[in-house]
């Protein structure tokens, strides 16, 4: 089986802890064993929340690669981001100040896809975004919408994670300035 990969990460300025709590609950409540329908439903909720808060997204990135080796290695890389807690803080950051010391959360999702499956091919076509529009807010909204057409029968694996894992552990401006976050692009 050949593979493709789609991944997206959004860094969202937090107005309060509500969004991160909500997303954490979705992930925590997603059972260990789930049907395709439950999986789709989980991502439907995620997509709705992200789209509703896209106006607060400051940075982000998304990938679609259709080369098998690249897809496998990138999926592992995204998984390692969770397992090593690479992006997470080691100590609390406190609640900060919304204007002078804002807090940020990230939401990450990656899908290892079955190449040549129809809905994957459709997604592939729809990810063919002109370079000038790659990091536009509208493009993220469009891609979130396209994920709704993904047939989870053709998704071999998925990984999803939310930073922070608890209130008071959100990311700061200093965190985002670290080299490990340089892959995140400013959203236009």
């Amino acid at each position: 089986m050949n593979h493709k990969i789609f991944a997206m990460e959004l860094c969202i300025r937090m107005r309060d802890e509500g969004l991160s709590r909500h997303l954490r609950e979705i992930v925590r409540n997603h059972p260990r064993t789930v049907s395709f329908a439950e999986k789709w439903e989980m991502y439907r909720s995620v997509r709705a929340l992200l789209k509703a808060n896209l106006g607060d997204a400051v940075k982000g990135c998304w990938d679609f690669f259709d080369e098998d080796g690249k897809a496998r290695s990138d999926f592992n890389m995204w998984c390692e981001g969770l397992f090593t807690e690479e992006g997470a803080r080691a100590v609390p950051s406190g609640s900060g100040d919304p204007t002078r010391d804002p807090r940020y959360m990230t939401f990450t999702m990656a899908f290892l896809l079955q190449a040549s499956a129809p809905s994957v091919e459709t997604l592939s076509e729809r990810c063919n975004i002109p370079e000038a529009k790659l990091w536009q807010r509208g493009t993220f909204a469009y891609l979130l919408e396209q994920l709704g057409h993904l047939n989870f029968g053709s998704v071999k694996g998925d990984v999803v994670y939310v930073i922070p894992g608890a209130d008071g552990w959100a990311l700061t401006n200093e965190d985002l300035a670290l080299e490990k976050f340089h892959y995140l692009r400013d959203i236009e």
């Binding site: 260990r32 064993t33 789930v34 969770l82 079955q114 809905s119 999803v160």
Partner: protein, 437 residues
């Protein structure tokens, strides 16, 4: 297919710390498929034939290699309104690239750009509120999406259309002209309901359009596998489009409506696996709606069919006709076979060689009187115009409370996980129909 084949996802790792919350899941079926594929690869290396299923089972301990089987657990099926599917996914939903079949030969030059103006040219003015624009909107409609398994680009219906002209249409046109002439000679305020094969309804309308304002009630879209060949209605409309435009100028503000229907709209069909159910029920307006649009009284209604055996009216019209009749607006019927054709192509009513409408008015008085007994229709033998004795009577039909269940619907295939529409159930190109053998 084995019932215990794994489906869904299983998570193998979760992380829940103050810093991050997340998890990874794997699709069991695809993981199993990968394993099977690897084992088959091993067997090939060992020189064991791919068809040695028994050997494969023995070595692998597997239930089945199942290369050619379709895992139907990936799919869900449901019925959806055909027209909604076409609007969302394209007029040719499930049959992309398949041709429309046209009857009739068009010999006059055709400017494809005319299609762009078809809806505007054929939309009524006085009776605009009663017009059903559905069919006329189809040529230039663009879908909001495509089925997930559809890879071919969308081509608008307009690019597939061309005008047609058939002998039946030419005859209907001549009869329409004569009928309009006869009714214009009378001063009666008559509404027509024309219920002929679609192209003939359009042709008759073209002939009568200088007197009556055509009001399309064609409430479907064409499809390559359509039960109702409504692309022929559009093809006929294209043929007569210049005449409709010309007639509109002559007609000015006619307050006599001519409601057009395709008699195939309720057609029975049996080939569920290969036909697209684009049937529809007539949305004939109520009498008050017609009176309001006309801004004056309609005295009677004339139901036009090809032959007396086409009576009584089709089931979806019964309630409306009975309602008009109950409101003291007589509903009469005319079968077009009472018009006789001369060698020069002209037609006359019931063999009359007089240009005067006396014979017609004797059968169809201006007040709409003269209807016979309730029709079963036990039309009297030997009567040259048996339809004139028609009178609607209430009967129980399957359309009394709207379209029956599954009428005008199409079975679609959904992705089990996402409910995204993959395609039409009957589409042989779909992965759900790619069974082995």
């Amino acid at each position: 297919m084995s019932d215990d084949k794994p489906t869904g996802f299983v998570s193998d790792r979760t992380v829940d710390t103050d810093g991050v919350v997340g998890a990874r899941w794997w699709n069991q079926a695809l993981i199993e498929a990968d394993k099977s594929s690897s084992r088959r690869g091993c067997l090939k290396v060992l020189g064991i034939g791919a068809l040695s299923v028994v050997t494969c089972k023995a070595i692998c301990g597997e239930v089945s290699c199942g290369d050619d089987e379709v895992d139907m657990s990936l799919y869900a099926f449901e019925s959806r309104r055909s027209l909604e599917l076409q609007r969302a996914y394209g007029w040719d939903f499930g049959a992309t690239g398949e041709p429309l079949v046209f009857d009739g030969v068009e010999t006059t030059p055709f400017d494809p750009m005319m299609i762009a103006g078809l809806e505007q040219d054929l939309s009524p003015t006085v009776f605009a509120s009663l017009h059903v624009p559905t069919l006329l909107q189809s040529p230039n409609a663009v879908p909001t999406g495509r089925p997930a398994e559809e890879t071919a680009p969308f081509e608008p219906l307009a690019s597939k259309l061309r005008p047609i002209s058939t002998p039946a249409m030419q005859l209907a046109y001549a009869r329409g002209r004569e009928l309009a002439r006869l009714l214009a000679a009378a001063t009666a305020r008559v509404a027509l309901v024309v219920d002929l094969p679609g192209p003939e309804s359009v042709a008759l309308a073209a002939g009568a359009a200088e007197v009556f304002e055509p009001v399309f009630l064609f409430d479907n879209w064409p499809h390559p596998h359509g039960v109702v060949p409504s692309h022929l209605v559009l093809a006929a409309a294209l043929h007569y489009q210049p005449l409709f435009v010309k007639a509109r100028a002559v007609r000015r503000l006619s307050r006599l409506p001519m409601f057009l229907l395709d008699r195939a709209r309720l057609a029975n069909y049996t080939d569920l696996a290969n036909q697209f159910d684009n049937r529809y029920i007539a949305r004939l307006p109520s009498l008050p709606a017609v009176q309001t649009a006309a801004q004056e009284q309609v005295q009677w209604l004339l139901y036009v069919v090809n032959r007396a055996s086409d009576l009584p009216e089709l089931d979806d019209l019964n309630d409306a006709f009975v309602g008009w009749q109950a409101a003291s607006v007589p509903v009469r019927a005319l079968s077009l076979d009472v018009f006789t054709s001369a060698s020069d192509g002209s037609v006359s009513y019931s063999g009359s060689d007089s240009p005067l409408p006396q014979q017609f008015l004797a059968d169809y008085p201006e007040d709409g009187g003269g209807g016979g007994v309730d029709v079963g229709i036990g039309i009297g033998g030997g009567d040259a115009n048996p339809a004139r004795s028609y009178k609607p009577s209430s009967r129980t039909t399957t359309y009394r409370s709207g379209a029956p269940f599954d009428f005008g619907t199409t079975s679609v295939v959904l992705a089990a996980g996402t409910s995204a529409v993959l395609g039409a159930r009957y589409d042989r190109r779909g992965s759900w129909n790619r069974t082995g053998g």
